[in-house]
């Protein structure tokens, strides 16, 4: 992917079947944060940007983001980008996505990334951190983080995750937990809560299929894990807390204290067979009780 350009991203139009033509975005093509843009409203007021697309989010001029309506993975990604911007670390950040719905997100981010095989991002991230973070004089320490789904992280990738924790790798693992396999159509994953119906547990998950895995709690038992937390983005308050967790995780990594991990609960309305708004209620009522929010191991 040499010389990748923004124009190339219009190619997603081919994927989504939308003709790339004159749909004009009302947003200015480029702007600076806090820039008034010279635009004045009629009553001599000026506009100041409060919250927009994060700068690292590349514009897809002709298309929406290729996720389902109400999917919160881009929301979780926004929290990550906000933190990167706050820390001024966008230039040193290397993102390692796995395979799942979130695999598409890095293509839209203006960050260096290496896509991994299903479940293996901790392996790649370990190697990248050790190769680039050798204390060479000509570069700052890289900020290496993975972006994984729940299936990627703890089903197919459990071995990689556990052993990265055992080796106390200085990386950050971000797990977007939508409690099922979203990409393949909503099958049971190890994090599916009891009672949650999926296409492979049509009557709802029962203890016969085991119990949901609580990853931050599990990782907190490792001596080599420095930070483990679980957040959600279903309300503005939870969003802000999650953002704080991610920031702490990144700071833990930059301080070289060991592996840091943040799980983010995300909604998946189509595979839960719910409207987006009902899915937020479902998170509040059925998922958070089985996956308590908070920090489980901290600096």
């Amino acid at each position: 992917m040499n010389g990748e350009s923004r124009e190339g991203l219009a190619l997603f139009g081919g994927v989504l079947g939308v003709p790339p033509k004159a749909l004009k975005s009302p947003l200015p093509a480029s702007r600076e944060r806090g820039d008034t843009g010279g635009e004045r409203t009629s009553d001599h007021m000026q506009r100041q940007l409060v919250a927009g697309r994060p700068d690292a989010w590349m514009r897809l001029e002709f298309n929406p983001i290729p996720t389902c309506p109400g999917c919160q993975e881009p929301t979780a990604t926004r929290a990550v980008l906000d933190v990167l911007e706050e820390m001024g670390m966008e230039g040193e950040a290397i993102l390692v996505p796995g395979v799942g719905c979130h695999s598409l997100i890095p293509f839209m981010l203006d960050l260096d990334h290496v896509m991994s095989a299903h479940g293996r991002p901790p392996d790649l991230a370990s190697a990248i951190k050790r190769v680039l973070g050798r204390g060479a004089a000509d570069r700052a320490l890289p900020l290496v983080f993975t972006l994984q789904g729940d299936g990627d992280c703890i089903a197919i990738g459990a071995g990689s995750l556990v052993n990265a924790a055992a080796r106390s790798e200085n990386i950050t693992v971000l797990m977007l937990n939508n409690v099922n396999y979203g990409t393949t159509g909503g099958q049971m994953s190890p994090t599916t809560p009891l009672g949650h119906a999926t296409s492979t547990t049509p009557g709802g998950r029962t203890p016969d299929y085991g119990y949901p895995v609580r990853v931050p709690e599990m990782l907190a038992t490792f001596q080599g894990v420095a930070y483990a937390a679980r957040g959600a983005v279903n309300t503005p308050a939870n969003y802000q807390k999650t953002r704080a967790y991610i920031k702490k995780a990144f700071q833990t990594q930059m301080a070289g204290r060991g592996l840091s991990m943040v799980e983010v609960l995300c909604s998946c309305p189509p595979d839960w067979h719910m409207t987006p708004l009902n899915s937020l209620k479902w998170i509040e009522a059925h998922i958070i009780p089985q996956f308590p929010l908070g920090e489980f191991k901290g600096p």
């Binding site: 703890i154 459990a158 119990y211 895995v213 609580r214 490792f222 001596q223």
Partner: protein, 266 residues
Amino acid sequence: MTDIGVKKELVAGRPDLWLRMENNPIPSCPGCHEPTAMRAILEALEELDAVGDAVMVVGVGCSFAFQSMVDLDYLVCAHGRPPDGASAVKRVLKGDHVVFTIQGDGDCIAIGAGALINAAARAEKITIFMLNNANYGTTGGQLAPTTPLGHVTSTTPGGRTPAHGYPVRVPELLATFQGVAYTARGAMNSPANYQKTKGYIKKAFAAQRVSLGLSFVEMLCACPPNWHMTPLDSLKWLEQTVIPQFPLGEFKDVQGASGKTQEATR
């Protein structure tokens, strides 16, 4: 030399389940504790009268050799995959079977971490025995995830430091899973520890029999050749260096398991 009227009674010999290999010793190194651990498991099976129902699933490592030495039905899986094989055996057989795996530490938590974690997540009614000798014995003593800090291996010639990470404590790790009924860690270095470990093994089997969930027992074993020690020194090393980093005891025993254990034992 027995007097008339006095009968010789065997107190301890080879377990009945140990297949006699008349002309050969057991193919493990002098001082290796893995056959001791196997003896504890076999005795526990006999005491629980579970021999006929037992299926052993073996991984790859020094414990690989048990397949030819133990008079039990067995299945050998790929490196690290015995929890997968055992899960299927338990679910397919459906009856009152006692399905257990024998794995080394590398097999169990390095290459097989994914299989182990997901068997725990599925709350499989199987028992997993991890024989922890703190290194990769079969391939010549390399670093394992369970190598204690300071321990010299052939891939950490200066001793394990935090740069290589910290040793994984598997029973403590598994205890966080809702689907895990019983976890414990025993050692083979003294008669007292042997007896305690056998108790843990029996509880683990009992938890499986009453379908409480996955049960797990780690057994600390000496590996004199790869530790570059005499067998006796290796016992001291186990006592002084390994056990302080791997505390012995039970880490999870879901409510009622102990009570039901007695019942199942009877």
